[in-house]
Symmetry: C2
Subunit: 253 residues, 2 copies
C-alpha cells in the first residue's frame, strides 16, 4: 500500500485516517504484531503526527489497538467476554466466584463509599482486594468494602493478614442473609495502583462496576471493580457472552 | 491559589496535576463553569500544555469535565444513572420503554450483526433507530436490527417511513414469544452520526450496550445502543441507581 493522501477529505482527518488504518489492520497486520513507530506511520499516510495520534487513540478506545509499556502499540486480539452478575444473589467468595482474594486491610473508605455504607467519616471498614483472571491474564481488580457490623463474628486471631484474612472476612460475610444487589457500570481512568496490576498505563480507560449488596434494606457491602476496557466486554444475562464485535462502520458485503 | 510547581514529583506529571486540578474543581469551580483556556491553565500550574491536556483527558474520562463543541471545557454535573435491562423479558417498544422510535430503514447490517442474526451477507434487515432522553438531554442512540423473518406480518402499506414505520416494526415484533435476552457492555468511540445526535465530538468515548433477543433458540433481534460515557452511569438490577461517584482517591476525612 502506497502513501495515502488525506488532504481533500471534508470530515476530520483523523476520522478518515482511522478507517484507512482499520483496513490496514485487517489486511496487513496480525494480532499481537507491533505497529511501526508514529513517525513512520505518519509519513506513510501523509498526515501530521497529531492526526495520527488521534486516530490511534480512537482505535485503542475501540479495542483494535493496545498500547503496552515498553512494547509499543500492538494489534489487539478480539475482546474477551467477562460475565458480570450472572450469579445473582450470592455473596462475593461463594462457590464458583471468579475472583481471587489478595489481601484485606482495615481503613477509612473513600467518602462516597462511607456514605453508601452509612459508616462514620473516619470509621475503618474491612477492605478486601481481589483480582480476576481470564484467559491467563488479569482483567480486573476489585476493592470490596465491608463494615465491621457486617462481619460481627470475625476475630483478629484466625488470619491476621493477607489472602487468608480476606477469605476469613468473606467467610463471615456469608452468614448474613443477602437480600439483593444492584450494579452500575461507568467509564473511569485507571488509578496508578490498578494500572500496575492490570499492566496498563495510569489513566488508561477502565470500566468501573459498582455493586451494592443489600441486607435488611441497608448496604451491607460495596464492591468497586475495575475492568480493563481495552480487552474486556462485560456480559450480563443468562447466556453470557455476546459475540458481536462493535464495528458498525463495516457493512456485510 | 498560586502557581503550583510540579517539577519534583516522581510519578507522571499529569497524574499529580490531575489531583491538583480535581481539588481546584472541588473548591473553586461550580458545575457548568467554563475552565480557563489551556494556555492560561498550563501557565498557572507550571506545566507543559501536553501535560495539561493529558490531565484534562483523565478528568474527562472520569466524568469530571466535559468538552463541548464551540463552548470549551466545562465542569461536568454528577453522572446520571440510566437503567439498562431492568425490564427483563420485554420486547423493545413495550409499555414503559424509555426509548423513542426515530425511523426505520431496510439495509444490510454490519457483518458481525448479520452473523449474529444468521441472515445472508447482503440480506436487508429492518434497522430501527431510536433515541433515549434523560433529564432533558439525549443520552443514548440505538440501532435495532430485525430480520424480515421476525416480523412476517409487517406490510409496506401501513407506515412506509419515519417514526410511524419504526413503531409498526416494533408492534409486529411484539407478536413473537420472547424467550430471553443477554447483554454486553463495552467501551467504544462515537461514530460521526452518533456523535452529532449525542452532541459529542466524533470519537468521544461511549458505552456500547449490545442486546440479543432470543426466540426459539435463535437471535430474533439485536440492539446496539450507544450511551454517552461522560454523563451516564448504566445501572442494572432491581433497585437501579447506585449513587456512588467513582472517586477512590478521595478518602473520608
Amino acid at each position: 500500500m502506497g502513501t495515502t493522501q488525506l488532504e481533500s477529505v471534508p470530515e476530520p482527518k483523523y476520522w478518515h485516517l482511522k478507517t484507512v488504518l482499520t483496513e490496514a489492520l485487517d489486511s496487513e497486520f496480525s494480532v499481537g504484531e507491533i505497529l511501526p513507530n508514529e513517525r513512520d506511520l505518519a509519513a506513510r499516510f501523509g498526515v501530521a503526527r497529531a492526526t495520527l495520534r488521534q486516530a490511534l487513540e480512537q482505535l485503542e478506545l475501540e479495542g483494535r489497538l493496545q498500547r503496552r509499556r515498553g512494547v509499543g502499540t500492538t494489534v489487539a486480539p478480539p475482546r474477551v467476554g467477562v460475565a458480570v452478575g450472572t450469579e445473582q444473589h450470592t455473596w462475593p467468595g461463594a462457590a464458583g466466584d471468579a475472583w481471587q482474594p489478595v489481601d484485606s486491610v482495615q481503613a477509612p473508605p473513600p467518602a462516597a463509599v462511607a456514605a453508601a455504607l452509612e459508616t462514620g467519616a473516619d470509621e475503618s471498614v474491612h477492605t478486601v482486594r481481589r483480582s480476576r483472571m481470564s484467559h491467563g491474564q488479569q482483567v480486573a481488580t476489585e476493592l470490596l468494602y465491608i463494615p465491621a457490623a457486617s462481619v460481627p463474628g470475625l476475630t483478629a486471631i484466625d488470619a491476621p493478614s493477607g489472602a487468608a484474612r480476606a477469605r476469613a472476612v468473606l467467610r463471615e460475610l456469608q452468614h448474613l442473609p443477602l437480600e439483593g444487589e444492584d450494579r452500575a457500570v461507568e467509564l473511569g481512568s485507571a488509578r496508578a495502583e490498578d494500572a500496575r496490576e492490570l499492566d496498563r498505563l495510569p489513566g488508561s480507560p477502565v470500566l468501573v462496576v459498582t455493586t451494592r449488596f443489600f441486607v435488611q434494606g441497608r448496604t451491607a457491602a460495596l464492591s468497586v471493580a475495575t475492568y480493563r476496557a481495552d480487552t474486556c466486554r462485560l456480559t450480563f444475562g443468562e447466556s453470557a457472552g455476546v459475540e458481536i464485535h462493535h464495528d458498525p462502520e463495516k457493512r456485510a458485503s
